[in-house]
């Protein structure tokens, strides 16, 4: 008996020791008195974490499903921290977050794409400074953060003068932006090559229009050769930036870089003029200005097979499994119907240039109401740990993915509780957007397989073209640009308004409408931002 007991005890002890070794961190008790040697809190802590609610049809509750339970269990096991998720609608996240922050109800760990929002609240004293937790002293607590995000992304927003860090930047695993898509089957039917120049692209659109009867039969009157949305800048960027001179300098890009739709870059106006021409030729969906963000009408036109070409996020038609444009289109218009990525727009140097962001993504910040900053930081570290984010991204073998012979991972569209509400669960992996399996080759192979029900070749082409001849916009850390404070939404609205108006204007009115809109944009704060960016750039970098 006694012997048995000692055997059990010693096994337990060894097991305990082993788990301690595997969890990796043996901490000195004196440095972090509220943690034990394994980085667990001595007393259970509770934190709340923001989670995007995409409201997908057939999706699971974003705050309560298999994956959130997995995170909750893991955080409780590894750090003795209870996690509660707070859903925030994806498409109105900034507005909802504003309300939560203003009411003092914001989650302890917040995520947003809008740094200006964070900065505005930080200036009011509403955001926690993360710099004390990003010192050498705390490094041993957050090894995965330092390993994966490193100084570049952790200290991205560090004020060059006083050292504050209001938010850490997530990484964009696949730094992709947009693609130009056309109907492959229509090209074949009309014996057209894939367009390789603006002229060919235009002729293709005209051919779509002319041959509506052949392509759409009784629905010929529904023909939309080219579709766009109110978000003109994003949805036509490849066209617009092909008019940006190759000679644009990093400094110019930065100074005129407040608008992420490149509105202030040289040459954009000529791109908008082309769109105006198309509109007046009847090549563009006439009703586009009436539909706002999140409206499904345009997608439905694509799914129904009425649309010939468009620009959108690099993998847009292939996303969302059975709800994808690709799948739905094939249901409606036959198995040959498909959108394919093309590369028609070259710049003045004859290069098919794509301008990409510097590779940062969402921003993670803690509001001042967060009274568990250490537990929250441990959460951010935990979710950044390769094995954790890897599991969240690929899920359970057999249900969410299968492993192919070469080791690459293929997604399976799960249903019910196991469904992923966002591709690769990016809404949970808040420090990385996009797949990262820890091995770049395996990752690239798996990304192409990551689209259930879509042939690999479509994805590979889109993947390759979207950053072909890429140039990355530079990032300069000059601290806060005061003129930008609070201006984002008003200026974005102005941009969308006057670009839409310029596109639908009569050709002879185009200059008048565009110039008046641009003047108004600059006068309402745009010019002040440019001036301050120039002054700060010159002060810190010249």
């Amino acid at each position: 008996m006694r012997k048995n007991r000692s055997v059990v005890l010693s096994t337990l002890l060894i097991a305990l020791l082993l788990t301690a070794c595997f969890s990796g961190t043996i901490l000195s008790a004196s440095k972090f008195p509220e943690l034990d040697a394994n980085g667990r809190f001595l007393k259970t802590r509770s934190i709340t974490v923001e989670i995007y609610d995409r409201g997908n049809p057939g999706g699971s509750k974003p705050e309560d499903n298999f994956f959130t339970n997995w995170i909750k269990e893991g955080m409780l096991r590894d750090h003795n921290v209870k996690v509660t998720f707070v859903p925030v609608p994806r498409w109105t996240e900034v507005d909802v977050l504003n309300n939560l922050l203003a009411a003092g109800d914001a989650p302890d760990v917040c995520v947003t794409y809008s740094y200006p929002t964070i900065l505005t609240y930080a200036n009011m004293g509403g955001v926690l400074d993360l710099s004390p937790y990003l010192t050498d002293e705390y490094k041993e607590l957050f090894p995965d953060l330092w390993d994966f995000l490193g100084e570049r992304f952790l200290l991205w927003n560090q004020d060059p003068v006083n050292g504050t860090v209001w938010a850490i930047e997530a990484r964009l695993a696949q730094n992709k932006r947009i693609n130009t898509f056309v109907r492959e089957d229509w090209l074949k039917k009309l014996n057209l090559p894939e367009p390789r120049s603006l002229e060919e692209f235009e002729n293709m659109l005209r051919a779509f229009k002319k041959n509506a009867n052949l392509l759409l039969g009784k629905d010929a009157d529904k023909m939309i050769p080219y579709t766009t949305s109110y978000d003109i800048g994003w949805r036509n960027e490849h066209l617009f930036t092909s008019f940006v001179p190759e000679s644009i300098t990093d400094k110019e890009m930065y100074i005129n870089g407040f608008d992420d739709r490149r509105l202030l870059w040289p040459g954009i106006k000529e791109g908008v003029r082309v769109l105006n021409k198309w509109y007046n030729e009847g090549l563009i969906w006439k009703d586009f200005p009436l539909y706002g963000p999140g409206d499904g009408t345009e997608d439905n036109n694509m799914k129904a097979g009425y649309v010939g070409a468009f620009m959108h996020n690099w993998d847009y038609p292939y996303r969302n499994g059975k709800d994808s444009i690709h799948y739905q289109l094939q249901q409606m218009a036959g198995p040959d119907a498909a959108f394919i990525a093309v590369e028609p727009f070259k710049n003045d140097a004859g290069i098919y240039r794509k301008y990409l962001a510097p590779g940062n993504d969402r921003k993670v910040f803690f509001p001042a109401t967060n009274d568990e900053p250490l537990a929250s930081m441990l959460y951010v570290n935990w979710i950044t740990k390769l094995e954790n984010r890897r599991f969240l991204q690929i899920g359970v073998e057999g249900t969410n993915h299968k492993v192919l012979a070469d080791g690459s991972i293929q997604n399976i569209a799960a249903t019910g509780d196991m469904i992923m509400n966002s591709l690769q669960n990016i809404d949970y992996t808040i420090t990385i957007n996009g797949l990262d399996l820890g091995d770049p080759v395996l990752t690239a192979k798996s990304v192409a397989l990551g689209y259930d029900l879509v042939d690999k070749s479509f994805i590979e082409k889109a993947y390759q073209l979207t950053d072909n001849n890429a140039r990355y916009t530079p990032y300069y850390n000059v601290g806060e640009i005061k003129a930008e404070e609070g201006m984002g939404p008003a200026l974005d609205e102005k941009r969308d308004n006057f670009l839409v108006q310029a596109v639908v204007a009569k050709p002879q009115d185009f200059d008048k409408v565009f110039d008046a809109g641009m003047q108004d944009y600059l006068r309402s704060g745009g010019q002040a931002i440019i001036d301050e960016r120039r002054a700060k750039y010159e002060a810190f970098y010249e």
Binding site: D95, N99, L101, G125, L290, P489, D496, V500, V504, S524
Partner: protein, 317 residues
């Protein structure tokens, strides 16, 4: 009369007050709840009006926030030198004025028409159908509007095109949009607003109509000489209240119906506040705008009331 000379009547007064309270205290107790409601939800929040004169901070109480520049009027000056605000102000007044011009007489006319209907069942049916849109939110109405009025896919324009006419840009041209906005407002509210007039009409003595008929007055004559004068106090009261809202603006109606092509007429004060205040986080600026709006509304309300009294009407108070 001195206080000493009149001890008895004073005592009497106290007794009378006590009896009065004894008898009616329950009524006063019932009043307590609404008063508490107003204090908590209307008067205490008013302390935040100071934000208009102070530099807003999310973490400080409004009493601790530092004063804004220019003797606290920084944000008012900023608002009035902001062209977007001035356009929003113009549009608010224009849309509200058109609403008043078209939307105010509409329920009066409908109420009189309904009142003249001899078949009671048909009258009730029409009334119910006319109420219905009131219960739809503007989001739903705007969805319907796009489905019906879009230039190529809207039902009405499809019908027009089939009949050989061109599309009417109901929603995508500024001038057309204004009328679409006003008329959708009439459609949505006209039935509901007739209720109060129909109630007023039941108060008119039927003997008046009988006497008029005997005297040979036709239908139009009796409407002009009996129905309309009977409605006059109600009309005046509602007109005063409506004038008090001339600078006030709904948010959901212009926001839901607006699009990128018509922002030059659809941006009103409420949407300005939404974009710059709630989304742009400039709370002081937009509180200043909101305060200005309220003050002008109160001035209009008082002026309209005084004017009504001057013309021998009862007014609102």
């Amino acid at each position: 009369m001195t206080a000493i000379a009149d001890p008895l009547s004073k005592k009497k007064k106290i007794i009378r007050t006590r009896n009065y309270l004894k008898k009616y205290w329950t009524l006063y107790a019932m009043l307590l709840l609404p008063i508490v409601y107003f204090i908590i939800f209307k008067y205490i929040p008013m302390t935040y009006i100071q934000i208009a004169f102070k530099k807003y901070s999310i973490v400080k109480s409004p009493w601790e926030m530092p004063w804004a520049g220019n003797h606290g009027f920084e944000y008012f000056i900023k608002a009035f030198s902001n062209r977007d605000f001035l356009f929003a102000l113009r549009n608010t007044i224009m849309l509200n004025f058109l609403d008043l011009l078209v939307g105010f007489p509409a329920p009066i006319i409908l109420a009189i028409l309904l009142n003249e209907l001899p078949y009671k069942r048909f009258k009730r049916f029409t009334q119910t159908v006319a109420y219905m849109p009131h219960f739809l939110s503007w989001i739903i109405v705007s969805g319907l509007a796009v489905q019906l009025l879009a230039p190529t896919s809207g039902l009405i324009n499809i019908v027009l095109n089939r009949l050989g006419f061109g599309s009417i840009p109901f929603l995508n041209d500024s001038a057309h949009w204004v009328w679409t906005y006003v008329l959708l407002g009439v459609w949505k509210s006209v039935g509901w607003n007739t209720i109060i007039y129909l109630a007023a009409l039941t108060n008119i003595d039927p003997q008046l109509y009988e006497a008029a008929a005997i005297d040979g007055a036709g239908r139009l004559r009796s409407i002009w000489h009996i129905t309309l004068p009977g409605l006059r106090p109600t009309i005046i009261t509602l007109l005063i209240l409506n004038l008090g809202r001339i600078l006030g603006s709904e948010f959901d109606r212009p926001y839901a119906l607006s699009n990128n092509l018509v922002n030059n007429v659809s941006n009103v004060i409420a949407t300005f506040i939404y974009t710059n205040g709630i989304r742009g986080l400039q709370f002081s600026l937009t509180t200043a705008v909101g305060l200005f709006q309220s003050v002008v509304c109160v001035i209009f309300l008082f002026a309209a009331n005084a004017l009504a009294k001057k013309f021998g009407e009862r007014g609102v108070w």
